[in-house]
């Protein structure tokens, strides 16, 4: 067992890091970096540079918060990281005025030319990804956490800082929009 492997949980790793043991920090990075990046990448419409900036800033916030976090009884680092990353993304979107309120449910586009063009240009997978990106931010985040990160509704609720019922509602609305979109595209194709 090397020194990184010995930090089997985040709590032990954070306490060790607070004493200056850098292997503990490496263990935390190794454990969370890839999933956090995939999450960021999907949330910010496949913008790789933005996703990497968000991940770096999230970890910077974590290093700053280590003394405070180690004082807490139960450290749930995974939801903490996802929550911080999402809040940062919201700030970025607000600044660039690219956000949309949850009340604005996007209409299912009925423009076959633009969809075909998009399908040709980006490929079908990217088209599906773009449907996801068109959802309001909270619905998209809930769907990404549920379908890609395989998180439970209570876990998603803690990241979005809403009730479990609200998560169920966000998931239902997001799925309904995506399912309607898929149905429309299938009908067009047949």
């Amino acid at each position: 067992m090397n020194r990184i492997e010995q930090f089997e949980n985040d709590s032990a790793a954070l306490h060790a890091l607070s004493l200056g043991i850098s292997e503990a920090g490496q263990a935390i990075i190794t454990r969370h970096q890839a999933a956090l990046f995939a999450y960021a990448y999907r949330l910010c419409s496949g913008d790789r540079a933005l996703a990497e900036d968000l991940v770096q800033d999230t970890f910077l916030k974590l290093w700053t918060a280590v003394p405070k976090l180690t004082k807490e009884k139960d450290i749930h680092l995974r939801p903490w990281l996802y929550r911080v990353l999402r809040n940062q993304l919201i700030d970025v979107l607000r600044k660039s005025n690219r956000t949309r309120s949850d009340d604005e449910i996007p209409e299912v586009e009925d423009n076959s030319d633009s969809v075909d063009e998009k399908l040709e240009k980006q490929g079908r997978a990217q088209a599906v990804q773009s449907w996801l990106n068109e959802l309001p931010e909270r619905q998209r985040t809930a769907l990404v956490l549920s379908h890609f990160e395989r998180m439970s509704n209570p876990e998603i609720a803690s990241i979005l800082e809403v009730s479990v019922e609200a998560v169920e509602s966000l998931l239902a609305r997001g799925r309904r929009t995506l399912a309607a979109r898929a149905k429309t595209e299938t009908e067009k194709a047949s």
């Binding site: 890091l17 004493l19 935390i28 990046f37 790789r48 990497e52 991940v55 379908h147 239902a172 399912a179």
Partner: protein, 118 residues
């Protein structure tokens, strides 16, 4: 509602969106490690400073503790001598005797008589 969930699951699975998670670049990994090592060095410095501060406080407290102990022992000794060699003890016994007499406690009264006789 469940039907929508299945459709979305199928949709993501069909295009390998779930399995093909995007990977972070090696540059990002490098940056994260540099930031973390910088933070760890800061934590180590802070921990060392805290330790030195703790030691310094313990050292500065030590002489004060010794002085307090010596003063306490000296005060107890002076008080003991004062009790032993002053009239206080005699007066105290007299007081007990008078009290015993008024309460008609014979044994204590006898002791008092004996004490005065001696």
């Amino acid at each position: 509602m469940n039907n929508d969930k299945e459709i979305v699951d199928e949709l993501f699975a069909k295009f390998d969106l779930v399995d093909e998670a995007p990977k972070p670049s090696s540059e990002l990994t490098q940056k994260l490690h540099i930031d973390m090592k910088r933070a760890a060095a800061g934590f180590e410095r802070d921990a060392l400073q805290d330790m030195k501060l703790g030691q310094a406080q313990t050292m500065s407290r030590k002489p004060a503790n010794w002085v307090a102990s010596i003063m306490g022992i000296a005060a107890a000794a002076v008080f003991g001598f004062w009790i032993g060699f002053s009239d206080v003890s005699e007066n105290l016994m007299y007081g007990i005797g008078v009290g015993a007499e008024s309460l008609e406690l014979e044994s204590l009264y006898d002791d008092y008589e004996t004490l005065l006789g001696s």
